[in-house]
């Protein structure tokens, strides 16, 4: 038996043979085990070869895009606006931390007698007005505390914390991000 040529088999497998050749191949393959196996092998090679095993590494697009369409440099105002949520979060965390530390270190609120006397005068006057209006009154007590000492400590603490966060961001976080890229 005359076998099909490799060219005929490849054209048959690719579907590029003309109608007559395709029919000839089909009838031959029905009776020839050897050519049928060869055609089957090439079909499987074609299927396997069409799979793409290669992928670019992560961040490929991020490396290409700055070379073709560089991002405009942000102004400091834009940077602050973009990071507003982060700044507020940081301030909140720092405030809570500062308060916790001040409580732990025995920083107690003290009552100023001058302010207390003044507030008593105001609350008494308010109660008299309420009474005259025929309403039930309730005692209001307000504690006014001197803040200068506490504020100073908090400002220094906040500045130091912000400085630390800035240094960590500049030298640690950015280095990690660069390493990942």
């Amino acid at each position: 038996m005359t076998h099909l040529t490799m060219t005929q088999i490849l054209q048959y497998v690719d579907g590029t043979a003309d109608y007559a050749s395709q029919a000839q191949c089909t009838s031959h393959l029905a009776v020839c085990e050897r050519c049928r196996r060869e055609a089957e092998l090439h079909k499987k090679l074609l299927k396997a070869g069409r799979q793409n095993p290669y992928k670019t590494s992560p961040g490929f697009i991020e490396r290409v895009m700055p070379r073709v369409a560089p991002q405009p440099k942000s102004s400091w105002a834009t940077v602050i606006l973009n990071n507003l949520a982060n700044i507020f979060s940081m301030m909140l965390v720092l405030g809570i931390l500062g308060y916790a530390i001040s409580l732990k270190s025995g920083f107690k609120l003290t009552e100023n007698p001058e302010y207390s006397a003044m507030t008593k005068i105001f609350t008494d006057a308010y109660a008299k007005i309420k009474q005259s209006a025929g309403e039930q009154t309730h005692q209001i007590s307000v504690k006014v505390t001197p803040t200068s000492n506490k504020t100073g400590k908090l400002v220094i603490f906040s500045l130091l914390a912000l400085l630390t966060l800035g240094v960590v961001d500049r030298f640690v976080v950015r280095r990690i991000i660069k390493t990942k890229l």
Binding site: L4, L10, H42, L45, G49
Partner: protein, 196 residues
């Protein structure tokens, strides 16, 4: 795909440069396949396709749509890789003797063995053996298989005559067949003969 490419290119030319990332996303992995099969080195391949993407972007205003974007782009990838190979003084061309138009027959005495195609190894072996083919064969085979290009498109990308493309493709597939069968025999992926 070409319609999508056309839309994206129009957006880029209209000023939306960031839209180019869509084209990069769509073509990067197939371009990687071609570059890897030509340069045989991951780092060089990524560098080459980055260069190709930058060149293509810069040349977009001059692109006249005489072919599809993908054919045009893979021609750039092919040329960048070929230039890299020539810088390394690597062999890219094949000899005239190899390009001769010889009839391709089945091996005379050796029946085609029965292969365990379903084995997970088969696909890995196929890719491994394509990588081992000479650049000129591996690149054309990749354009045919992975990029799913016609002979005419391969002619356009590789810049060689149609006869050469057909011949190299058939020879590449024959070489791949032989190499895969040999490897499958070594790894025990060939089944016991069913017919005498």
């Amino acid at each position: 795909m070409s319609d999508q490419d056309f839309d994206v290119v129009q957006r880029i030319l209209g000023g939306q440069k960031r839209a180019y990332s869509d084209l990069v996303e769509r073509h990067k992995d197939k371009a990687m396949a071609l570059a890897m099969r030509m340069l045989k080195n991951r780092h060089d391949a990524e560098e080459a396709i980055q260069d190709a993407f930058v060149r293509a972007f810069n040349a977009l205003p001059r692109f006249e749509w005489k072919s599809s974007f993908s054919t045009w782009f893979y021609r750039i990838v092919f040329n960048v890789c070929a230039t890299n190979l020539s810088k390394k003084k690597d062999e890219f061309s094949v000899s005239m003797e190899e390009d001769e138009d010889r009839p391709l027959e089945l091996p005379a005495d050796e029946p085609t063995p029965d292969i365990a195609y379903e084995s997970s190894e088969f696909q890995n072996i196929v890719h491994g053996e394509i990588e081992k083919l000479p650049h000129a064969y591996a690149s054309i085979l990749t354009l045919f298989l992975v990029q799913d290009m016609t002979y005419d498109e391969i002619v356009d990308v590789a810049g060689v005559p149609l006869g050469t493309v057909k011949n190299r493709l058939f020879r590449a597939r024959t070489m791949l067949r032989d190499a895969v069968l040999e490897k499958m025999k070594e790894t025990g992926g060939v089944r016991k003969e069913r017919v005498a």
